[in-house]
Amino acid sequence: MKVNVYVTLKPGVLDPQGKAIHHALEGLGFAGVDDVRAGRFIEMEVADDVSDADLDAMCGKLLANTVIENYRIERA
């Protein structure tokens, strides 16, 4: 089955890349963008019997750095 993992910066962690993207959008003339934060999207193909606990451990041990990032797991 397909599993999607969304890794995002924790609230309060400064995101210079998001800021640069925001400025670039403004430079292209798009108005009304209040804030941009950039994250990472990871798609995995896993066996159906991989447990939620294992998926959680994969995120906590490698896919996200929980000092600065949150993650969300979605079985697609």
Partner: protein
Amino acid sequence: MKTAVIVFPGSNCDRDMAVALETVSGRAPAMVWHRESALPEGTDFIALPGGFSYGDYLRSGAMAARSPILRAVIDAAGRGVPVLGVCNGFQVLAEAQLLPGALMRNAGLNFVCRTVPLTVENSQSLFTAAYGAGETIHIPVAHHDGNYFADRATLDRIEGEGRVAFRYADPVNGSARGIAGVLNDAGNVLGMMPHPERAIDPAHGGTDGLRLFEAALGVLA
């Protein structure tokens, strides 16, 4: 002194580190490949060099921190063996949770490559004992992801415990509280973004990095 330099695919300061260790200790370090599961018997100083281990895939230092040799490094650190991580080595130590915090993209988004002034904040550690407290030294930096981040409680704790070894004297990369180098709680692991191994010979333009190796390798006069 038996020293070792850990070499990852993508390390590029491993030779510079080896030159520094050999110059100061008089003995060439063992160059230990990331796939090894053990350090040479009797290793009593470990250096993690700068570079772009594993192409900075996922996050800088993330893959190296999970490589086989790191388990041996973590064990050795736990036994009190001194471990120095420079630049990418610092990122690896943070990813391996041997040091608190994380190194994020520089606040200005630019790769910063120049010699910067550092303030020695802790002159009591085994790495910094040859510097004076509050002394300003000049060491080159060369990094894209050197913006040190930790939550406020962690920053307060490491500052309170004297674990900030070096601070940037001027803003460089957006690091929280200007932190350039951090010690672990036992004081035997140091991670720093600036490259002391690039400041050990007058031909480098400065020799302020030399005293770090002299102190850490126990060869002070």
